[in-house]
């Protein structure tokens, strides 16, 4: 930027030129920083998405196993849906959290089905 002022002003040409170059350097620096960060951000986002996909896949696998045991829970499906919804919005932190919750619920339903294979007898009327 060039501001022309009357000489005699403390903002004399030399000082302005110095300021200008300082500002230029500063803006170059901040631009460089911005570029660096801009370059970095997609990398960070990609990491989140990769983590989400892994967490979601793990949850789905567990839920499928629960399905083979004929014992899926409605809340597991709900958590998976929440994860998908968050991921669609780009909120991968939430998406990962929901996926992990879904996986925990699915695993609990598997444990329930497996342990009930013998435990049901405790409720039987004799």
């Amino acid at each position: 930027m060039s501001i022309v002022r009357k000489s005699g002003n403390r903002f004399s040409k030399e000082i302005m030129l110095k300021n200008k170059s300082r500002m230029l350097r500063a803006s170059t620096l901040s631009l460089a920083l911005a570029l660096l960060m801009a370059g970095a951000t997609p990398v960070l986002a990609a990491d989140s998405e990769v983590d989400f996909r892994a967490a979601y896949a793990a949850a789905e696998t567990a839920n499928k196993e629960a399905g083979l045991l004929r014992n899926q829970w409605t809340v597991t499906a709900a958590a998976l849906a929440e994860a998908r919804k968050a991921a669609d919005k780009g909120d991968f932190d939430q998406a990962i959290a929901s996926s992990k919750e879904a996986e925990a619920l699915a695993k609990a339903s598997i444990f329930q089905a497996t342990s009930e294979k013998t435990l049901w007898k405790e409720l039987e009327i004799h």
Partner: protein
């Protein structure tokens, strides 16, 4: 605690196998349906000594005097009347090929509801009334109905109505597959499921007469005798399939498909242990 029990029983089973002995667990696993049915009946008659055996088919009304009185009044003008009439009309109307439901069932479908479900030895599976009705439609070129309500409920309502008062007469033939189906149904009944970790028994064996939220729980003895039901909660009719699937959802378990093997076997077990109790269907429930 549970894993300790598992380890212990696993060790026992292994030990038994190692010694070539037949583990006693196998003998205990051979189902004895008549003994089960007697134990089932005794459990409820002892728990509720003031309830007559045949009254158990009235579900929550047998557990609560005030509800019973209101229900008796309503039975003079029952909400399932429209469904029975619709069922009767459907029964008399032939399919496009000229045949009708009467051709698919013994005694033209009249007064036979108490014999369902039965074990089909050719197919090796349990056949319920709802399944038989849709199969009847399909072999006669008609599209099947939803198993849950409307037309299916109307047909079963009419058939139940023609069997009112007749005692449940479920047979288990001397066939290991039939015994297995019976046992599967029993196991389903007592197995906890869903996030709420309830089994059918949790409500209907451990807590009949008590409340879950605002509802009074029905005893498991005679629980299918009033089906299908007009349920105020549904503002309409529902079949056995509807009740099984919605119950699963209520305890946060993903329901299976109507008439999946588990449900057919469950209906087989529950009907058998209620042998001798009269068909009271169709019914009305809160």
């Amino acid at each position: 605690m549970r894993s300790a029990i598992h380890l212990a029983s696993a060790a026992l089973a292994l030990a038994a196998l190692a010694f070539g002995a037949v583990p006693s667990a196998v003998a205990a696993d051979t189902p004895n349906p008549p003994a089960d049915a007697k134990a089932f009946r005794d459990f409820f008659t002892q728990k509720f000594p003031k309830v007559k055996l045949e009254d158990f088919v009235n579900g929550p009304y047998s557990m609560n005097e005030d509800l019973h009185r209101q229900w008796e009044e309503k039975e003079q003008f029952p909400p399932y009347e429209f469904s029975v009439d619709m069922g009767k009309e459907m029964f008399s109307k032939p399919f496009k090929n000229g045949k009708s439901y009467a051709d698919c069932f013994p005694n033209q479908g009249i007064g036979i509801r108490q014999n369902y479900p039965y074990f089909d030895e050719k197919e090796g599976k349990v056949i319920t009334l709802e399944l038989a009705l849709n199969r009847c439609r399909e072999v006669n070129g008609e599209p099947p109905f939803s198993f849950l309500k409307d037309e299916m409920a109307a047909l079963t309502a009419y058939m139940a109505f023609t069997s009112r008062g007749k005692p449940f007469d479920i047979k288990i033939p001397d066939d290991p597959r039939a015994l297995e189906a019976y046992q599967n149904g029993k196991r389903y009944f007592y197995t906890r499921r869903g996030q709420l970790n309830f089994s059918c028994a949790t409500c209907h064996v451990q807590s009949p007469g008590e409340r879950i939220r605002a509802e009074v729980l029905a005893p498991a003895l005679g629980i299918l005798n009033a089906m299908p039901i007009y349920r105020s909660e549904w503002s309409g009719m529902g079949t056995i399939s509807r009740r099984f699937t919605t119950c699963n959802t209520q305890i946060r378990g993903v329901p299976l498909n109507p008439q999946d093997d588990e449900y057919r076997d469950l209906e087989y077990y529950l009907s058998y242990v209620s042998n001798g109790l009269p068909i009271s269907g169709p019914g009305a429930r809160p």
